[in-house]
């Protein structure tokens, strides 16, 4: 073997160059693959293939059928759109007509519906009103009134029974000759205000018919009916109200 002579200075210089080169060198690994481990001995037979070259096989694939008509003209689309707009306008017009018809029907019904009590309920003396926005209030149920005296039957202000009421009907009956007068409480002072509304006296213990028909109601929280017994005997009376909004 031939002997090679190396100058010590050259060797030192070489080592120094290597040191300088590795000092500032940066090693960057890109596109690093996942580490794959293999159990047992590594051989060609079980060597895993790199991920980026693994095969993907698609099964159960359907055939794609493209429509024959691929070319649609803008004019055709516009015509179809105009047709849809026309149909929409017809539907809106029909709905508007129907709505107006319903409103007109409601107005007619409001005008013709009568809250007067009729039928067997009246004969039972029970003021039950179930037509529209109406209700009945029993103010006196077989209340006794001393002969020659009066008795006041009033609604309760705390219940807001008359809130928004537009019409009211009075039903008074008695087994003796009586006179009934309707009173309205002042909305501000809550004092009774006489309205000189006399309700026809009846000599009947049942509410066979309204003693006073529907009237407009002033703004009030309470209504009172004062029944005066005009006979020489003690009386029994019923007082009911029919209120509608």
């Amino acid at each position: 073997m031939a002997e090679t002579k190396i100058d010590l200075k050259d060797l030192e210089k070489a080592w120094k160059d290597v040191a300088d080169w590795t000092k500032d060198a940066k090693v960057e690994v890109t596109n690093q693959k996942e580490v794959q481990t293999v159990d047992g001995e590594v051989s060609i037979s079980n060597l895993p293939e790199p991920v980026d070259v693994q095969k993907v096989e698609m099964t159960n694939q359907k055939d794609v059928i493209f429509p024959d008509l691929q070319n649609v003209k803008d004019a055709d689309v516009k015509a179809e759109l105009e047709s849809i707009k026309g149909t929409q306008a017809e539907i809106i017009a029909a709905l508007k007509t129907t709505n107006e018809s319903l409103l007109e029907t409601n107005k007619k019904l409001e005008g013709t519906l009568d809250t007067k009590l009729t039928g067997s309920n009246l004969e039972d003396g029970i003021p039950t009103i179930n037509i529209g926005n109406s209700k009945g209030i029993v103010l006196a149920d077989k209340e006794q009134i001393m002969s020659g005296s009066s008795k006041t039957f009033a609604t309760l202000s705390r219940d807001n029974e008359l809130l928004g009421a537009k019409k009211i009907s009075f039903y008074v009956s008695s087994d003796q000759k009586c006179k009934a007068v309707a009173y309205f409480y002042s909305y501000v002072t809550d004092d009774l205000v006489r309205n000189n509304i006399e309700i026809t006296a009846e000599t009947s213990t049942t509410l066979a018919r309204p003693s006073f028909l529907t009237m407009e109601v002033p703004v009030t929280k309470r209504v009172a009916v004062i029944v005066t017994n005009l006979s020489d005997s003690d009386a029994v009376c019923n007082v009911n109200l029919g209120i509608s909004w």
Partner: protein, 71 residues
């Protein structure tokens, strides 16, 4: 009939005589019309046995007697 003015008045402010036994009221004129204008008007026995007195009025006269209004 000053004694009539001493009777309790109704709570509604009408100024009528208040009949608390049955929560009724009567005007002074109606009361006089029923039982007459007599010196015996405030005698319990007179009123209780008056021909115009009904069972309910008897209740009232009993109440007034208990309250010391009638004697």
């Amino acid at each position: 009939m000053d004694e009539l003015d001493k009777l309790p008045r109704d709570p509604y402010g009408f100024g009528e005589i208040w009949l608390d036994a049955h929560e009724c009221s009567i005007t002074k004129e109606s009361f006089i019309k029923m039982f007459g204008e007599t010196d015996f008007l405030f005698k319990y026995v007179f009123l209780y046995n008056h021909e115009a007195t009904t069972p309910m009025w008897k209740d009232q006269f009993d109440a007034w007697k208990e309250q010391g209004i009638l004697n």
